[in-house]
Chain length 139, copies 2
DNA sequence: CTACGGCTTGACGCCGACGTCAAGGCAAGA
DNA sequence: TCTTGCCTTGACGTCGGCGTCAAGCCGTAG
């Protein structure tokens, strides 16, 4: 199997595969013409990489999984190093989700406050000399 | 006030201010030496930019807020365009948080499954010929 | 013969928000 | 006078994961 076919079967591009090879992640043998050749097991490795990338893993973080598979283990996460990456990723996700939730809350508050201010001004404009609410400058 | 002082008072760098100016976000007057000069109100604009950036807003997304302040409004979010950005950001945050939560759940599952498999193998190793669980290859 | 498709390496482009370095100007203090 | 410090513009570096283009090789279908 050559690079184009492997890429297509994994739903990615030849360029990506060359990049993975340049990172030492997915080396290839060469045929008599210098073309890269791959085997079925390489498809397995590549799918492992793609799956983890879809989860937001950095390419480097997929390395333990790939090496685990290449070492003959049944799954990419059959090795301790992979579990370490899982746990670290979970921590990162929890931290990130927490930060984003806090930001979301603050932005929501800001929006609510700004809309209230806008409505307050609108009401004031509609009713001149009306009930100026909690403004210590008014009076 | 020159660029270094303004940067220090806003907790950022002169380089950042020059960048903002290059983007047309925070223009500066010049003194007789060609040095950038700023006034107190520029500090207000700059702080608005920094606050939004801390929330994860793109620099471009801070523009409506800055222009709103420059137009003389009491707050950067006193203008409709700013509220639009708020709402869009909230949607983005909700979507992102949702995706991350889904990924977190999947990674958590994978970790649990991998640990269970590992423990299963460990138990098998401790008890040779023992209760080989759900492995269709065993027997 | 020629076109075409697929492969090769090499190298620059991209995106965002600056960091960092180079080379030089200008003013005040020791 | 010399140094120090702050300022200027210009331009390249950073990071990740490739996209895209250039130039060229190889085999095959028409």
């Amino acid at each position: 199997m050559r690079i184009g076919e492997l890429a297509a079967r994994a739903g990615t591009t030849a360029r990506a595969l060359r990049y993975y090879e340049s990172r030492g992640l997915l080396p290839a043998r060469r045929d008599e013409h210098g073309h890269r050749t791959y085997e079925e097991r390489d498809l397995r490795l590549l799918r492992q990489i793609r799956t983890l990338q879809d989860f937001g893993f950095d390419l480097e973080e997929t390395r333990p999984f790939v090496e685990c598979l290449r070492a003959g283990h049944p799954e990419g996460d059959s090795c301790p190093a992979s579990l370490v990456v899982y746990r670290r990723k979970l921590d990162e996700l929890d931290a990130l989700i927490g930060e984003l939730a806090a930001v979301r809350a603050k932005v929501g508050e800001q929006l609510a406050r700004a809309e209230a201010a806008r409505d307050g001004l609108a009401a004031e404009a509609l009713v001149p000399g009306g009930p100026e609410p909690v403004c210590e400058l008014g009076g």
